[in-house]
Each structure stands twice: as C-alpha cells, then as structure tokens.
Subunit: 291 residues, 4 copies
C-alpha cells in the first residue's frame, strides 16, 4: 500500500493531522490580519438536509419552561432546561474519520477492519483519535473563479484547484487545510437536489492534494468528491484510506469566499476542533477561520 501507511508508526491513528507541527501552527498564526472570525458549520437540527437513507438530527427536551409553567418547583428561584440530541454522525457539517472508508480488510495504516464492529464501534481511528489542529487554511474558490456555482457532476481537477486559488503564489503546502467552494450548498442546500450528483474533486485532484501533504480537505458538498452515476468514491479511498487525510463535508463557504475576495487573499488561520466522539466514524465540527 502506497500513501502514508507506516509514516508515523504502525500504531498511528491521526494520519495527516500529524503534518500540522507546532512550526506549521506558528506560521499560520501570523496570517491573522483583522481578527475577524467566521464559523463554517451549518446549524445542526431537524431542518438540516439529510439523505433519504438517514434520519435527520433530533432533539428531545428533558426539562423546559413548560414544567415551570405547570407548577414545577424552582428551589431558590432557580430554573433550568435540558435536552438530549440524536443524529447520524455524518449529518450536517462534519469530519469523516479515518475509520469511515476503506477497501479490502484493512483501514488506514493497516489497522484491521475488524476493529470496527457493532459491539464497540470504531476502536481504531474513531473520532476521539482526531487531534485538534490550528493550521493554514487555503480556499479554492471556484464560484469566484468561474463566475458562479458549478453544475451538477462538474469535475474539479488539478487545473481547477490551481485556478481556484486567487492569491498569487499560493499553492498547497504541508499541513494545509484546503477548502473547496463549489457553490453546491449555496444553490442546492435548501430543498434542492443537494444529495444528487454533486460537483467535486476528481481522483487526480485528490492525489495532487495528497502529494502536497495537506492535512485536511473540505468542501461545500456532501462527499467532497465529484459524484455521478458511475463515479464511486475514489477520492475517499485516496485521502482517507491511503493518506489518512480527514474530510470536511457540508461546509458553509459562501461568507468566507466573499470575505477573502474582498481582501484578494486565499489563506487564513484555520482551526479544526472535532468533538471526540468515542468510536464514531465521523463527528460534528465547527471549523473556525480567523482573517
């Protein structure tokens, strides 16, 4: 197996996140110019777009103001509300972990597929093994570059990746988080055909990103990679399985794109703070950008 297997030892479960060394973080911190902060996550709730085969997120109240209106006691005047949530981990804005996709009998780094089973979830490469990183973010803005959102099933190859980086002299570097704005969520996210054939990166583009040693790849679509009737998931296998690069899906990139365009830049401080859900194959995350 080519790729990053064994690169950080046979026990490694963090993959390309290892590429974000303190030096990479230090350098990224210097990108802060205005201090303006943006979150890239969709609200996660019953209205979050979900594919047919997955129930949407649910919230159940365990205590609320209705209890007090109906006479519940308020010791010392204190009142409180609580709730429980339930959601498929691949709902809304989330990170795919290295336990999510594989081929053959082994997941990333040669860990056995048998480490992911019903009784215990993903014992290897689950969401609690994703380490938080602070690194340089690079926006590939294809909406800005092409004058509008990409069409269904439009392929984003290496040329498109290069063209989508507006800032002169910027190419992906070791430890970068590369985010790709296709315009798909902006146009199809609410009641459109969001889960139909999306535009996204090709296998070649995925390989190019992996060859540049990026730490994270994300997009404003549901699977990062281009989808059509016959496409399969080659970029998932290249990035997650072979190179240990977590994927960020269903990102909100419109506001970021507009903000960067106004400053003619493509890079920024990027924070990845995944929730350490034990044994999960994905996890919700609110990616944060500082301009």
């Amino acid at each position: 197996m080519t790729g990053n297997w064994g690169r950080w030892g046979s026990d490694d479960e963090a993959g390309a996140l290892n590429l974000v060394t303190p030096d990479v973080t230090l350098k990224a911190a210097r990108l802060v110019r205005t201090g303006r902060t943006l979150g890239l996550a969709q609200p996660l709730g019953p209205s979050t777009a979900s594919p047919r085969h997955r129930p949407g997120p649910m919230r159940f109240m365990n205590r609320d103001a209705g209890d007090y209106a109906l006479g519940a006691r308020s010791p010392g005047g204190f009142r409180f509300a609580e709730d429980t949530v339930q959601f498929p981990t691949h709902s809304g804005t989330h990170a795919d972990t290295l336990a999510h996709a594989w081929t053959g009998e082994e997941i990333y780094n040669g860990h056995p597929q048998s480490s992911t089973r019903t009784t215990r979830g993903a014992q290897r490469c689950g969401a609690e093994k994703l380490v938080p990183v602070v690194t340089r973010g690079v926006l590939v803005d294809l909406v800005a570059a092409t004058g509008g959102p990409l069409a269904a099933s439009a392929p984003v190859g290496v040329d498109e990746l290069r063209r989508g980086i507006a800032e002169a002299g910027v190419t992906p570097e070791t430890g970068d988080a590369v985010l790709i704005r296709t315009g798909w969520l902006e146009t199809q996210g609410n009641g459109g055909d969001y889960f139909a054939d999306e535009p996204g990166i090709t296998a070649e583009a995925a390989r190019w990103l992996a060859d540049h040693d990026v730490a994270l790849v994300g997009a404003d679509n549901y699977a990062v990679e281009q989808q059509s009737a016959t496409s399969g998931f080659p970029a998932h296998l290249l990035l997650l399985h072979q190179h240990g690069v977590p994927l960020l899906e269903n990102l909100e990139l419109a506001e970021l794109g507009d903000a960067l365009a106004a400053e003619a830049r493509s890079t920024f401080l990027f924070v990845f703070a995944p929730i350490p859900l034990v044994g999960s194959t994905a996890t919700p995350v609110t990616p944060v950008v500082v301009l």
Copy 2:
C-alpha cells in the same frame, strides 16, 4: 435587571461573546509563541462520567465491517462504516447556553421563558446562537497555586482567582476566557465522587469575573461553581442569566496547567468552536489552546 441585558440590543442572543471583537482576537493571536496545540475536551462516549439522572452517551452502528464479513457487497471495492450518536447535551465537555438557566419568567436579555418548550426546544439563545470566538485564555491554576487539588466543596473566591493566576501582571480583561483548574476532574473523574459536592467559584467570584467583562468562564468540574448541600446555583444565574456569559464544564485542564507552569505563563490563544445544535440548551465543544 442589572447585568448585560439590553447592552447589545433587545434581540441579542450571543451575550458576552459579543465582547470578543476583532481587536481582542488580533491581540490574542499575538500570544502564540511555540505553536503547541492542546484540546481540552474529554472523550464523549459510553464511559463518559454521567450523573445518575442522565443516561450516558450512546453510539449505535448503522453499518460496519461486520456487514462485509457477512457478505455485504463492496461496489468497486468500496467499504464504509456509519453510526448514530445520542447524548444529553450537558454530557462531557460542553458549553451551557444562555437558554440553560434562569429565574422568573425571562431568560437572558429578557427573552420570555416560553421560548423554550417541548415542541421546538430553545427558540431563543439555543446553541446555534453561540458564535465561535478566538480570544485570550487565562488559566487560574489552583492546583499549582495550592500544591494540589482542591477539597470537596472548597470555595474559590476572588482572592483564590487572583492567586491562581501565576503570570505577573495578568488580570482578567474584556473578552477573556477564564479557565479554572480545581483538580476535581483529575481526582474524581474516573469512578470517584465526581458528581458530589465539587469545589468551584463563589457568587462573589462570579460577580468579579462578570465585572471584568469576561466572555467565557470554564472549569474542570461539572457546574463551574462550588456545590454543597445548600449552595444552589447563584453563579449560574449571575453569569448565564444576568451577564450572558456561557459556561464551559468538565474541561480537561491538567495538561494545560502543566504546560503553562513549565513556561511560567497564564495566558494563551483560546478557540471556542461550539457545535450549532439548533434549539439545544448546551452543546459539546472541544476548546482549543495554542501556546
């Protein structure tokens, strides 16, 4: 009502997070010295400590390697695993939202308590209204200051807060995230009496923090404030209800404390990236520190 009601307009639902302006973020970014990055969240799973009245987090597999071992097809060789999670939002490391606690008929900023009801959750001040912020973090390390973890029900007053900040000349400033290490999680977190009477801040300490216009207050215990048979939750009302200051609970602060002690500092870049759970009264979060 004193406090911050009306300070950011009658519609405001973000509270003291408004205090983290771009300038505050800019200044905080300059605190980065080594680039070393730490996450402060506990793993969130079935083993996460939970109080008796709340079920612990659950994870259910929707597809896993067992399906393939039993003969499920792998189109093009592609295999994947998925899961669903369920947890009370006040489980593990989380932020209490401004909809969580109140007194009388109004929550923070005069929003009616009736905005939090069974059918729709918290329509005002739910987790999706917490904005991500990047700001200065200040550690109050009482384990370092007192030579060990605090005892059960030990009060942390204003004097203790001052004494727990090791770095000369540092006091809480506008927009700070103040984190208080009591040692409680370190000593009681695994199988101990974690949900019994915890050490924590007093009402006076809460008022002092609010008077310094901090944006966030967190601790390595389950309720930030000191608990005993008769204490109630005055700091919750002062911070969440009157001043709109979200609370961070069940933080992992031991590694941070040790790292800061080694560098004789108390401040650092702090990132708050809450998951925007629609209508929830709390939300999981992985606070991130950059040294």
Copy 3:
C-alpha cells in the same frame, strides 16, 4: 362535563376499559368457534408509514453476527444478538391513551393537564394505566357493505355503522371493541396518500358508540375519525376525553374482514394487550382476534 367522568371514581385512569367485566369476558369467550387466530398489527419498523412531522421507527443493533464473523469470542459456543428500538408511540398500530387528547385544562376524568409534562411524561392516564381486556369484538366492514374502500374524507355516520355490521341482530353492547374497516390502509397504506384526508367516523357516530358503552374503538386509518381541511378532532374529544374510550389506530383489517365475510359473522373474541409504557401517550399493541 358530561360523559364518563367520575363514573368509576375520581381517581380512575382506565376509563371505558372498566366496562369489560369478567361477565363480558366470559360471554366473549363463548364466541370462539374455529380457534383460528389473527393479529391486527402492522409490522413496526423503518418502513412503517409515518407522517412528515414524525421520524419513523428505528432499530439499532447492539450485537449481531458481524461481531462473531470478525472474531468476537463465543464462550461455550454461545452466540447472541441484541438491539435497541426507538419510535414515536403514535407509530404503526397503536392505542391512543386517555392522556393523548383533551380540551381546556383537564384531561379525562378531570385529571389536570399539568400531569403531562416534559420531566415526567403522562403521570395520569399514561399507557401503563391501560388494562388488558378480553372482550367481544364487532367488525363494521364498510368495504364489504359498500363494495369497496371508502373515498378520501368519506364520513362514517350512525347509518354507516349500522349498515357495516353484517351479522343479523348485532349492535354494539357494553364493553365491545368496535373495529371499523374503511379500506383506507389497504389502498393508501403503501406509498399512497395515507396521511391525507382519510375516511372515518363522524362526531355523531362517536357519540352513538359512546352511548352504547363500548370499551374500545378502532379503525384501519390513522385517526379513526374522518379528516378534511376543516374537520378537527371532535371524535377524539368525545371518545378519549369525555368517555375514556381508547382508540386503536392503523389496524390491519382486510384479512379479518374476509374471514368474517366467509362465515357471515361480525363478532369474535378480541384481545387487547397494550404494552405498559410508563407515562406514554400511546403504545404499540397487537390486537388479537380468535374466530
């Protein structure tokens, strides 16, 4: 309040099920002729028809054969599988409890509506208060009587109820379970407009049934009563609220109708064995008929 409030004491929570005395059961047992047994419940699972505002039933495996295929130990050769289910209680074939519907501030028998709240569910008249009963069942078969399924929004009044009972000399009696076959589930249950405007009983028909002291009323539709843009739920209030008559919804009545038609009868032994879900407003049930 007219109806059955106070009839069985001010504490009563079982309502019209009280009408099924041992004598009623004894008499019903004598209706058994062939011993043929039928269940009237739909399968309850992800494919069960659900209205838009309710998620469908879910099942999560906790242990399955995949664990063993991947190497889980089988002490002494023993293997087992387990699962967890989740469903809105008004899904599939279920009984509406007396806590489900009301008007004003009181539910059935004058119990305060405040007995049904978030923290504790229905403390009065929840599903655990429905007692199992064995009684006479009477089928009103409007498919047989009218030569086919009823149209959308078709009203079933007193005349239709009378006409739908094929067996000479049979009218509803004290303690009966009256089941109404409209044909709606048979024609709309799978992918049709099942949750649109259904045929069902009118308010007058509901009053007539209550006046005959029936114990249970059920139908092969989602709300027993006729639905249209303006109809509301008067039969729910008459039967559940005023008379304490539980409703059986989403019944499978086609096979029963055909079996009874072949024997030219309308009555049979009927068993109501509700699951005692504590504090729930409805509960799944498999009604059983013996011919």
Copy 4:
C-alpha cells in the same frame, strides 16, 4: 441438528408457535371459567430494572401540556400530547425471538447467522415473524410448591417442574405456554440483585419441555434458565436454537400464582400478542391470562 429444524419446512421462522393449531386454541378457550383477566407485564419505563450493560428505557415528550401553558395554539380547543420511546428490546417483560441466540454459523432452522447484521437487523426470525397465539397456559408455581421463593442459582429440574404443577393430572401438552414462578422477581426485582445468579430451569428441564412440544416457555426471571458463574446458556440453545421455542422473560407471576392457588388450578387461557418489531431480536409483550 436434532430438534425442530425442518419440521415446518426449510423456510419456517415461527418455530414452536406452529404447534398452536386452531384445535389447540379451541380447547384452550374452554378453560375460561370466571372471565377474570390478568396481564403479566412489568411497566416499561425509566424505572424498569436493567442490567449494567444496557441503558434503561427512555421516554421523550414531543408535545405536552407545557406547550399549551406557554401559549401554544389550540385550534378549535383541541390539545394533544405525544412522545417517543427508546429501549433495548430485551428490557422488561419481553419475548426472545428465534434470532436471539445460536451456536455455530446457523440460527434456528438452519437460517444463516449472516441474516442478522448491522445494516438490516434480523432478516430471519425477527420479532415480526412471531405469530400471535392463544393457547393453554400452565403455571409451574415453585413459590407455592416449596413455600417461598427459590434461592439464588437454585436449579429447576424435571422433578421441580412436575412438583410445581399443582392441578392433578396436568402435564405439559402440545402447544402449551409453560410459565415458571421462581419468586425471583418478587424478591429481587426492586433494587435487589435481580441480574445476579438467578434460579431457573436446567438444561434437562429445557429438554423435557421441548420433548413435550410446548410452544412457549416463560419465567419471572431475566433468562428463564438457572444462572451461576459457570452455567452458560444451554437452555437458550435447546429451546430457541434447536426447538424454536420463544422465551418469555421478566414475567410478573405473583398475582397469577395467588389467583390460581385460590382455585386449586394450574391451567388457563393464555394470549401471546407480541409487537411485530421488524428485524428485532426480542420484543415487548403483555402476556394476558383469562381465568
């Protein structure tokens, strides 16, 4: 494989329930003497005793009186409450299906174990394949026979089964539901050591019951069979796996025992009306007895 494999065809998934023919039901109906009706199910809710490795049942309100107290509209005066439940299917009073336990690679009747997997649950022998039956019930009352509840780990062998049937001349017959009162739930059910080593049937007793062609075996304990440090689950394999006899667990048998003792009888009309949970390995049931 000995036992009932193939006895009702290679596709059979109902097992010993096939033994309850219309004639068996007819004969059972004649056992009704007084019409007194009893349910044998525990309330199913948060207080239901659950073993450590399974979360207890949960109920979440989706709408309740609190909504109305806080101002929700009541069109035409109509108010309603709804809820959602979640529980491991082996909670409280339930039937183990023929998909629950096996050895080797095949479940009951030679169906492959691979029919039970994460993505689809139990496609063979799940709860929706359990047919409702009305048959003769026989109580083996060891509390009455021995003067008190059995001790922990007490074995119930063939002699004890014979001795526990009080009514002269009664032995298990084809299609019977045999219920065994050990007294365990009565003494350990609330806060005791219920899930510790229970008294119950031995492998020999299980074989004897199977040889008598019973349709169902149940008990007032959590696993029907005797449990100790070294016992394993031989009766599960004999009854569920080899003979296709569903097990009824956590039955409430005290009231039934007292009622039968007062009439010096051991037999009665018994109704088994399982909820057809699609693909589940167990299902809640309210067994009903008519005396």
